[in-house]
Symmetry: C2
Subunit: 187 residues, 2 copies
Amino acid sequence: MRVLGVDPGLGRTGVAVVEGAPGALRLVHAARIDTVPQTSEPARLANLYDLVADVLESYTPDVAAVEQLFFSTNRRTAMRVGEARGVILCAIGRAGVHVAEYTPTQVKEAVCGYGAAHKKQVMRMTSRLLALDSDADDVADACAVAVCHHHRARLSALTGTRRRQAGSSPLERAVARARARFEAARR
Amino acid sequence: MRVLGVDPGLGRTGVAVVEGAPGALRLVHAARIDTVPQTSEPARLANLYDLVADVLESYTPDVAAVEQLFFSTNRRTAMRVGEARGVILCAIGRAGVHVAEYTPTQVKEAVCGYGAAHKKQVMRMTSRLLALDSDADDVADACAVAVCHHHRARLSALTGTRRRQAGSSPLERAVARARARFEAARR
């Protein structure tokens, strides 16, 4: 599975393409998308759209993982990040790629083992897991959310398999037992 | 001048195309763009993008006027409106159309004569000014922000003209007087 992780922002957006499975993850692409502060906001958003669409076209991910946003104390910054995030989700939606969203706590839990991990710890873990050679925290965050999706997908695949091995729900098992008794009585 | 007014939202976006000049404004197009609540957010944002791009292509406005956003008490709603607004600005930016932004107070002042006007008054004024036949407040707000841009553009054209008629800045006038004295002395 190939996952595109995105850490959204108007000025700086981190993107990372991570493929493989937990334990054998491989970093295919990692970059920071910058928009020019001197240009107008619509021009920056249009530019951001084109750059994200380029990544989607070049790396054809199976799914995109995007961090959920929480409002910071600075409302102006939060607004701009929200607008950038909308553009990124739109580009992914138009490419027909499914989006999974994760809270910062879920991402930290998946990468560091606990949800209150610091930025530095997330960076250290992503560079260890993926041999990431970048000191940009936007890129590390994009890697982290991609890794988070890989872990979550593995987890739900495992629980799905276990349920399938167990065969059925209590109701289905009761029906199977009744049918077996019926078949035994007929013979 | 043809102005596209937009009142952004994820579920409902009002759009209005208004052309002419203050005193002789004409409503070319007014509509509410709805996205399907049952679909995913990226799909809704992609849909919103396509519908706004359609309006831009069909009506080729000279400029777009978009209301500035302020955070409501509901952070979740504010976030979604911010994301929708980003997508709309992106679509306008990609169409190469200039965006003018106005605060709700500026819009109300331009349409009703004072910045604290109520929603009902804005609706009454836009339907009077543009013979708008719609009871959707998103559409009325889109009309209002387009009318606001027409008024503001007229105002700055008038003050620009007046300045050009007055000829120059105090420095330029001083230079012109000095040159005239120099020319007079030479003769």
